[in-house]
Amino acid sequence: MRSALRALSACLAAVAAAALAGSAAAERLTVSQYGILLNTLPYSVALEKGFFKEEGLAIDGIIASHGGGTSVRNMLASDLPVAEMALPAAIAAAKQGIDVRIIGDTANTIGELVWVSKKDSPVKTIADLKGRKAAFTSPRGVTEIIIKTVLKRHGILEQSQTIAAGGIGAAVTALNQGAVDAATLVDPVLTKTGHNYQIVFHAAKELPNLSWAMFVTTAKYLSENEDKVRKIVRARAKAVDFIYANREETAKIYAKYWNLSEADAASMLPKFYDIKFWKRGEFNPKGFETMLEGMELVGELEKGYDIKKLLDDRFQAILKEK
């Protein structure tokens, strides 16, 4: 019995030591919806091509999160409080007194986010949503902002109902169960299962200028580690340049990190190049304007919110679009 206990104690100690040793050396970035939404592809490219290592950084992985407050909490709990998250999450954090700083605007549009209805549904256009229900993911998140802004611009916001499903998978489940008439969908699920649905509208076409994904850190961390943050920003920018310059290899990396076949990956990516989806990080004032308008609409923000107090433009020279 005693020898068994000794052996067990030794094993537990070894496991604990290994875990601590591993965590002491490496760092991880927090990225909302990593491995789900395609705006996070640059991080996979940076990891695969060693751009973080080239900059002398010990980043060897990404902490994925569902977005919103989870991303903020993950970022603050991490040893490396640098993250990519949605703009509403960053502003919500700032309003809670967290000293967030936005250092980059990482996507030109909302990408391939669409709202779909079932194949046999009478809901085929935005106008058909009048008197019907459309699902978005989280309350006061990007998808609620988009659906309400689009419905408002088409004059049917008051006559339609929008429902928070809780996530993209949950929204599709709600659609399949008939609980809603339209739900949000993105790639790769869109390409894999899109033939089961009909597209009601493309978010990027309705809102071509939308600043929604932000590269964020805290003011304290930035002031104490400006050089390190610069290196992270540079590594990501290199990854974005790589994506545009190396389509075939990017498709392979996409397939590897998203668990897709290379054929599927290669077929999904072209539309993202067409809309120049990924950004190095240059701020887009018009994009901020659209997003802030949407946030006022969903009650997340008071009128006239000054986003400039959150923006830190010290890296904008590195992040200028090529």
Partner: protein
């Protein structure tokens, strides 16, 4: 002061002491606001939310589901426990499965339940019942195992039929274990329903807590957590009080 009164006072002292310590840690910033708000603010937010009626529909939804799940767990669990106890060969087959049941992550079945029952309350009731039923089965079997043989002989002497024996002799004799099973079934039903609402739900306190967490709305989140905690403890003490009354009545007779 009786021993029981002393225990009650000690319990209250511990509770208020812990709350007081948390209050000091939160107010002095040792626990950051993003992590936790002071208990007094939780109470304030809860009072405001209840007075405003903002979460009434969610409260009704969640507790109706918990009630249904607990009822199914208790009735089905007791019935299955009785059946398994009466059939020793069946008991030998299912014993290892029952013993290891709680090592299975039951929540993996939740998406399947949604496919089966739709995006309604029934997957939540089902997951709550699945979580609670085995606790009731195990405690029913344990209780029936402890029924003195003399009582079973007495039932035979009195020529009681099988159902009369179960209803008048075995279940009352197994009452202490049955009540433990009921308390566990209720607790597990709460866990199952609330956790299911975190994953996916059309309404409910779990859903609201998740949204509040995602929105960094600690006021709402902790208010609802406090409500769930308080309500669950109240239900537990109600069942416990009922158990004590039943026990007093039976020992007196």
């Amino acid at each position: 002061m009786t021993r029981r009164q002393l225990v009650v006072w000690l319990r209250l002292a511990f509770l208020f002491g812990a709350a007081g310590a948390l209050e000091i840690l939160c107010r002095t910033g040792r626990i950051p606001r993003l992590t936790m708000i002071p208990p007094s603010e939780m109470v304030e937010h809860l009072a405001a939310a209840l007075a405003g009626g903002k979460f009434t529909a969610d409260i009704v939804f969640t507790f109706a589901n918990i009630g249904a799940a607990a009822a199914i767990s208790i009735v089905l669990g007791a019935a299955l426990g009785l059946g398994i106890h009466a059939l020793p060969r069946l008991r030998r087959v299912v014993d290892p499965m029952l013993a290891s049941y709680y090592s299975v992550p039951t929540f993996v079945f939740y998406p399947l339940l949604i496919v089966l029952f739709g995006l309604t309350r029934w997957p939540l009731v089902a997951i709550g019942a699945l979580f609670g039923v085995v606790a009731m089965i195990l405690n029913t079997i344990a209780g029936l195992d402890r029924v003195p043989r003399a009582l079973a002989k007495t039932a035979r002497v009195l020529r009681l039929g099988p159902w009369a024996t179960v209803w008048r002799i075995k279940l009352p004799a197994a009452a202490p274990s049955l009540f433990t099973g009921v308390k566990l079934a209720v607790t597990y039903s709460v866990i199952g329903v609330i956790a299911g609402e975190f994953i996916l739900s059309v309404a409910g306190l779990g859903r609201q807590i998740k949204f509040a967490y995602d929105s960094l709305d600690n006021g709402t989140m902790y208010a609802l957590l406090l409500f769930v905690l308080t309500a669950t403890v109240l239900v537990y003490f109600l069942v416990h009080g009922w158990e004590r009354r039943v026990h007093r009545r039976w020992t007196a007779s």
